[in-house]
Amino acid sequence: MKRRGVTVSNFDRRKFIKTSGVVAAASALPFPMINIRSAGAAETVKVGILHSLTGTIAIAEASVVDAEKLAIEEINKAGGVMGRQIETIVEDGASDWPTFAEKARKLLEKDKVAAIFGCYTSASRKATLPVVEKLKGLLYYPTYYEGLEQSPNILYTAQEATQSVVAAVNWLAEKKGKKFYLIGSDYIWPRTTNKLAKPTIAKAGGTVVGESYYPLGSIEFASEVNKIKAAKPDVILSTVVGGSNVAFYKQLVAAGLTGKNQTLLALAVSEEEASGIGPENLEGFLSCMGYFQSLKNPANERFVKAFKAKYGANRVTGDTLACGYTSVYLWKLAAEKAKSFDVPAVVAASAGLEFEGPEGKIKFHASNHHLYKHARIGTFRKDGQIDMIFESPLIEPNPFPKL
């Protein structure tokens, strides 16, 4: 799986209020409304959104739904796709992988959606993949992940591992020092990322002075922090994910390793996680992502403004949200280019497709279903936002790198 997010402010309260409203509404008009909705389907085109709205991953994943809905709303306001309004069917994967498979099947077989925007963890994608392949559906996957996959029925709209770690390591080795310490959560993404990091470090003339992995959800890093202090690395490269980051950063700062005196670059900590970790613990540490909320370009300013207007001024955007938003537009452009909603036509039209989105100009690879992307490195500010200090040129995606 990918990472677990830390917090999204006000999520629970917002959800509760909405829930009470729907319960009241549901008791008033039980089922006919669903029939009405599908009756007018002639002029619309259906898409599915499949993320976890409940369960442990919902806290990170539910906000991606907001970004995808925003894009759909914008497209509908501007006249839809080829004159057809988009009809959205949201399904809950419930942080449960068999449920993801069931819901993907439902969206494709019953609702016959033209595309699904969904999945967050690698586990959910692995469960969904056989279903979309067999039913010849189309899935847009908006989360940065470990690569090593290229399904004919999936378009990957976030970074695969080579697009962040290689650029990050080269930049660190040049600017910050050659002694690396690798620490990560124990599952496929951190291990694959470090598998790519190690030869890159060696090629840049660096050394690895420590490497360790902690089970997902670990909150005890005190002995690791002592080991780090003893090894005195120039750079800590962190692939720790989710809730563990709260403990990891707090214990680092408590032991005197702060953003002022220690270089630490995290590959899985974005603005969205900042409020959970505490911006004061993050200040000065580095993050490498494909997108930051603070990016200065017209498309991003529009996106952030619209997002805050729709969902509240205290909400933040992050890499996965931007990729989810971009995915919907990429699908629209590909369908318009293909003049068809057929999956093979849309996939074929996606090859080489360009889009000017919140993360600047991006482009689909001619054949491997991934995007050319920028790797961006930034420093955490006191308010949890990130100031960009390095931007790579567009990096070619390479999901199956040769080591």
Partner: protein, 376 residues
Amino acid sequence: MANRIAEPPPPGAATPAPRASPIALLFKLGLPILAALLLIAIPSFLGDFRLGLAAKYLCLAFPAVAIVLIWGYGGILSLGQGIFFGLGGYMMAMFLKLEAAAQDNTGSALSQFYGSNLPDFMVWNSVEALPWWWLPFHHLWFTLGAIVIIPAVVAFALAYANFRKRVGGVYFSIITLALASIMAIVIIGQQGVTGGANGITDFKTFVGIDLDTESAKRGMYFTTVVLLLLSVLAGMFIIRSGFGKVLVAIRDREDRVRFSGYDPAMFKAFIFAVGAVISAIGGAMFTMQVGLASPSLVGIVPSIEMVIYAAVGGRLSLVGAVYGALIVGYAKTTFSENFAEHWFYFIGGLFILVTMFLPQGIAGLLDRFRASRDRN
């Protein structure tokens, strides 16, 4: 769980109906009606997608049936039935994955990356050789045998060790709960050989039969139904036998049975092992039809859900357990399709309603209805 003297007689079991009221008939014909529903009505009225869902719920009915046997009649509340469901599911997944790996085309790109041709998750976890305990799962007959024998042996050993030391009741429940949690943690932790949190996914064929064709799916559905009906039948046979009488006696007054010269530990361990085998068969069928084995089917939450299926159907009704699993599964799907963000509250409400107003589940409701008719 002991010391319940005023337990009502098990509905649908040994009690002969006093009069042939329609509901009494319903109890008497519980199994034939269920068989007709599952073998004829559901497959002829449901489309392929809904039939697949029904098959999934029916797989979860296996552990529910097992829980009726061991909890309703054995008095052992197992909060770890997911262990055995998971054992069966994972053993089937190992077999299917090895078959898929042997013919996997996408594996070639991976194997160029890593230089080996193992199941995909082993490749990206840098496991270089197939672990020895995976090897026998190349063989179908070994796999099928292991799905029955391994859970039985594990369950018997575990239960006998505990009951022999007279660890029972709530303590045994806690132990099963802990074991379910441990098993999920071990599977997630040992991702190189178990697939970790991702589970084992992406199967292609079962002994050469493409799992995704309509005929294969119908075939699997009917196999599931037949195995489930056989499990219910075996459960009924056990309950009505002399063994079943002793079991119920142990449930109600274990000390008296012990003073009469029986070894309650042996009886309880045996029924626990039977429940484990039934659960494991359900797990294996689940893996085949849903297409993955995942630690999310092993841990505490799914184990407790299985108890809920049994409770909704009626703790003392084997047939009811099947309806319980069908109803809860159907409710989950319907609520979550129509109210994607809030369906958990409906399911929670359903469970609260059942435990508050239908402590004996649906079977208990019918039973009460019958009793009131008989009085009039």
